[in-house]
């Protein structure tokens, strides 16, 4: 019900932005993401950005994986 993937912002104008997903560019709507910056990653569903991707949290999630993997059973 919720197919969404991260896109990178290339340029923006008003409510719209051109964003990139692995070399494919598309116009998306960014009105509900406050102060979006170029080069930021946003989560896009049906052509609409629904959240900015928090890179710090992404890193922490991968670190959690490592921690759980290495923990004693």
């Amino acid at each position: 019900m919720c197919l969404a993937v991260p896109y990178r912002i290339i340029s923006k104008e008003g409510n719209k932005a051109i964003a990139d997903v692995f070399g494919m560019k598309k116009e998306i709507d960014i009105r509900i993401i406050e102060d979006v910056e170029v080069d930021e990653y946003v989560l896009v569903h049906a052509g609409f950005a629904i959240q900015r991707v928090n890179q710090g949290d992404a890193k922490e999630t991968l670190e959690l994986l490592t921690e759980l993997c290495e923990a004693e059973e």
Binding site: L3, V5, V21, G23, M24, K26, H45
Partner: protein, 334 residues
């Protein structure tokens, strides 16, 4: 009257028809034989020959990396190559909608000429029909292809044997994904892989490689065609997800649209199923060819089965079925 537009009268047999035919023959001149006759006459060769036929109705007719003309020639040569035949002759039947532009027709004809010339084949017969507006969508092309078999071995979808390797000659899903991207407003450098793979197969057969089955993963993609092979040969096949060559941009657009690259058409690839002891030789020959530089083993034929299935071993090492889908994929929100 718009001089750039094809009218019904261009198909009626009179002076305007002659003008249209002149354009067609002028563009295709180098590759047409038996011009001006009702039938094409040629010297049949000894030994086995192959004939194929196909109709092309792709929409959009111009897509990144090609057009319907290029697709028609490559699709025909590839069908011949898949039974081990060297393509020699092709027929070309054009059905054009009233109102189609001469410029677009010319672009398509130039592509047809280029691919025919590159493939060392000739157009031996042709036909043109103009159809009333709305009764056909822009342009449809029908071809028949004739080729001479380069091997006495039986290459067939029924021939895949347990322990055979499954090889793909290049990246998966480029054509289908590029069309989906284009249709859904993505701007990209992703282009169709539309190409004639007959030279690849010729190179393999000339070196005496044993091949059990050959198919090009066109409509329905890799997973659909492999499902046909498992059903025909009554064997199970297992693919390894880690070994599938898929471009990042193809993955990206498929993720964004909710479609599966394994079901996206490839128009310039071949699936080669061969005994394991031929694999090294096959890969060496393919890697020497421009179209085969990214060829790799992607799976194996496992055992005979009365309820044959295609499996995928996923990244986490689990096994799942790759089914035959009953429908074309459309973009999803779910």
């Amino acid at each position: 009257m718009d001089k750039n537009t094809i009218l019904l009268s261009h198909g009626s047999g009179g002076k305007q028809s002659q003008e249209l035919l002149e354009l067609i023959y002028n563009t295709l001149n180098e590759v047409v034989i038996n011009h001006g006759e009702d039938s094409g006459v040629f010297q049949a060769v000894e030994g086995k020959a192959a004939i194929t036929t196909d109709s092309y109705t792709v929409d959009p007719i111009f897509f990144p990396g090609g057009n319907i003309g290029k697709l028609a020639i490559c699709g025909t040569t590839n069908d011949l190559a898949m039974v081990g035949a060297i393509p020699k002759l092709i027929t070309l039947s054009l059905m054009i909608e009233e109102g189609f532009s001469f410029d677009d027709l010319n672009k398509i004809l130039i592509s047809i000429k280029d691919e025919t010339k590159k493939g060392n084949i000739s157009i031996i017969a042709g036909d043109t029909k103009i159809v009333s507006r709305g009764k056909i969508d822009k342009i449809f092309i029908n071809t028949a292809g004739y080729g001479v078999l380069a091997t006495n071995e039986s290459i067939s979808s029924k021939n895949a044997k347990p322990q055979d390797d499954v090889i793909i000659t290049g990246d998966i899903g480029d054509h289908g994904a590029s069309i989906m991207a284009y249709r859904n407003g993505f701007e990209s450098s992703l282009i169709s892989d539309c190409a004639n793979v007959a030279p690849l197969i010729k190179a393999l057969l000339e070196q005496g490689v044993i091949i059990h089955a050959l198919r090009d993963p066109t409509r329905g993609g890799l997973a659909s065609i492999l499902n046909e092979i498992v059903a025909s040969s009554k064997v199970n096949i297992i693919l390894e997800e880690e070994r599938l060559p898929i471009k990042e941009s193809v993955s990206g657009v498929c993720d964004a649209l909710g479609i599966d690259p394994l079901y996206m058409a490839c128009e310039g690839r071949a699936i080669i199923i061969c005994p394991q002891n031929e694999t090294k030789k096959v890969l060496k020959i393919l890697h020497n060819e421009p179209l085969g530089s990214n060829a790799q083993v992607i799976g194996r034929v496992t055992e005979r089965s009365d309820t044959p299935k295609l499996f995928l071993k996923t990244f986490i090492g689990a096994k799942r079925i790759l089914p035959l889908l009953s429908r074309e994929q459309t973009p999803r929100i779910c």
